[in-house]
């Protein structure tokens, strides 16, 4: 059966001001000058899997289609390789715009439950705030615990490799000035609330 989805866009689908808001963020200003040439998609190694191409995400953002953009896979697929950013003929920092969109999606919690990327990001930040550093194996374990046990199990072979090569360490790395890290990060939060 064909699933019928409305694809035409009405004005009511737009969230006016969204594009302007994104373009006012440091690093995202150049989006204004996009000429939709598609170079970003052309060089993006992950465009293989994307629902919207990076170019489309740029235009949808500029045209205030907030929901479409924040719900797209594209922003999560971006691996931050910066190929688009350095090749864009308008010097649009596409990777940084992707970051901005990811941040907004996380803030508004518009991503599938147990979706690993935001979970990883959150675990990562929590660990940094707590310890000042990252212990990769602990982070990976937590990620699997919070997303999918099964996926974790599938990687048993790799775990074995790591153990054999002495890279599997579950001793948490911590810095001395942990209080400093927390204080600095809180300062940033306090500023935002003002």
């Amino acid at each position: 059966m064909m699933k019928m989805v409305r694809t035409i866009k009405y004005e009511s689908d737009r969230v006016p001001g969204f594009g302007k808001e994104v373009m006012s963020v440091p690093g995202c200003e150049q989006l204004k000058s996009c000429i939709q040439c598609g170079t970003c998609s052309g060089v993006c190694p992950l465009s293989v899997y994307m629902d919207y191409s990076p170019r489309q995400v740029m235009e949808l953002t500029r045209s205030d289609f907030k929901n479409e953009v924040l719900r797209s896979h594209t922003i999560w697929l971006c691996a931050s390789c910066y190929a688009c950013t350095v090749e864009c003929p308008r010097e649009i920092r596409i990777t940084d715009i992707m970051y901005e969109l990811k941040q907004r999606a996380i803030k508004e919690r518009v991503y599938p439950p147990r979706f690993p990327i935001p979970v990883l990001a959150r675990e990562f930040t929590d660990m940094v705030k707590k310890n000042g550093r990252i212990t990769e194996m602990v982070l990976v374990m937590k990620l699997f615990l919070k997303t999918s046990w099964l996926a974790g199990m599938k990687n048993w072979r790799m775990g074995l490799d790591l153990m054999k090569t002495g890279r599997l360490s579950l001793v948490t790395e911590k810095i001395k000035a942990r209080g400093d890290i927390a204080r600095m990060l809180d300062t940033v939060d306090a500023k935002k609330e003002n």
């Binding site: 910066y82 940094v128 550093r133 790799m158 490799d161 790591l162 090569t165 890290i181 940033v188």
Partner: protein
């Protein structure tokens, strides 16, 4: 030559072979690395995704510590750290509001970042400060006959590095050639390795790993040389998944350039973390050739 050294979390974890090989190689070249006291996570890609401001603040603490140390040159071997530290410098320069956020956060812990420090990658230091000639002189076991695909990955040259070309970097090519190795033409040298996607969206990540390895093999490479702990992990660690997804494990080893340097310099093998790789690297250079006037370190 003296630098502040910022290992980053990976070099203490999955990428410890990088540190294990880099330190003796740098020492052998007379480069003094002083590890930054009580450094913290650079902020990295994951943090950037959540909060750019905080990521910059985290990075800036390390930059401030480096300045406090009096060392204005900060060596960051991990590509992600290198990029984030550089990005923070750029953002603080370009965006007053970011500088203000950073200054305020640092002030809360009595630190100050003036913006004078520079972030350097080991490749940059090796090529521009140490020089290829000095490196060539240290080579006692040339990597003759070894075909290497030089793989730079993304964040070392993009978007901030100025020491090499963004599309066609050549510093590692030259370095490997200086070691006596044969460098194969590898057009994927700056393609993404999949980054953290190998863990989070394996289908997407593994495909990229497969293309990279497969193409290196097609071009006759004996191994890949890399500059980044995450790249090394991705290219080395997923042979099981590769086999299940593509029916082809592509068992081609991936080494840090520093490990290859150590081999060529004749440093003791056990110091180079060669055993840390999942796909073993079995090739060894011929026995050392005594050079007039050069002392030979025999493993």
């Amino acid at each position: 030559m003296k630098y502040s050294y910022f290992p980053g979390c990976s070099l203490k974890g999955l990428g410890r072979a990088y540190e294990e090989s880099l330190l003796p190689v740098m020492k052998h070249l007379g480069v003094e690395l002083q590890e930054l006291n009580d450094w913290n996570c650079c902020g990295a890609t994951a943090y950037m995704a959540v909060d750019e401001g905080k990521a910059c603040v985290l990075a800036a603490r390390n930059l401030a510590l480096a300045e406090q140390n009096g060392g204005h040159q900060l060596l960051a071997p991990c590509s992600a750290c290198y990029m984030v530290l550089n990005k923070t410098q750029h953002y603080c320069q370009d965006y007053p509001q970011m500088k203000e956020t950073v200054d305020r956060a640092l002030a809360s812990v009595n630190l100050k970042y003036s913006g004078h420090s520079t972030v350097r990658h080991p490749l940059d230091v090796l090529i521009n400060d140490v020089g290829l000639e000095a490196i060539r002189q240290k080579v006692v076991r040339p990597l003759k006959g070894l075909k290497i695909a030089p793989y730079y990955g993304c964040q070392i040259v993009r978007p901030y590095a100025t020491f090499d070309d963004q599309f066609n970097p050549v510093t590692m090519d030259k370095l490997l050639q200086a070691l006596g190795a044969e460098v194969v033409r590898y057009p994927l040298k700056t393609k993404c390795c999949g980054g953290s996607l190998t863990g989070t969206l394996p289908d997407a990540g593994i495909r990229m790993v497969y293309i990279l390895l497969n193409e290196a093999r097609k071009r006759g490479a004996d191994c890949l040389a890399t500059v980044c702990p995450l790249c090394q992990f991705n290219l080395d660690g997923y042979h099981a998944q590769l086999r299940s997804q593509y029916g082809d494990a592509v068992l081609i080893p991936t080494l840090y350039f520093s490990q290859l340097m150590g081999l060529a310099f004749g440093l003791p093998e056990e110091e180079l973390g060669l055993k840390r790789a999942a796909i073993p690297f079995r090739w060894r250079p011929a026995a050392p050739v005594a050079k007039a006037g050069a002392s030979v370190a025999v493993a």
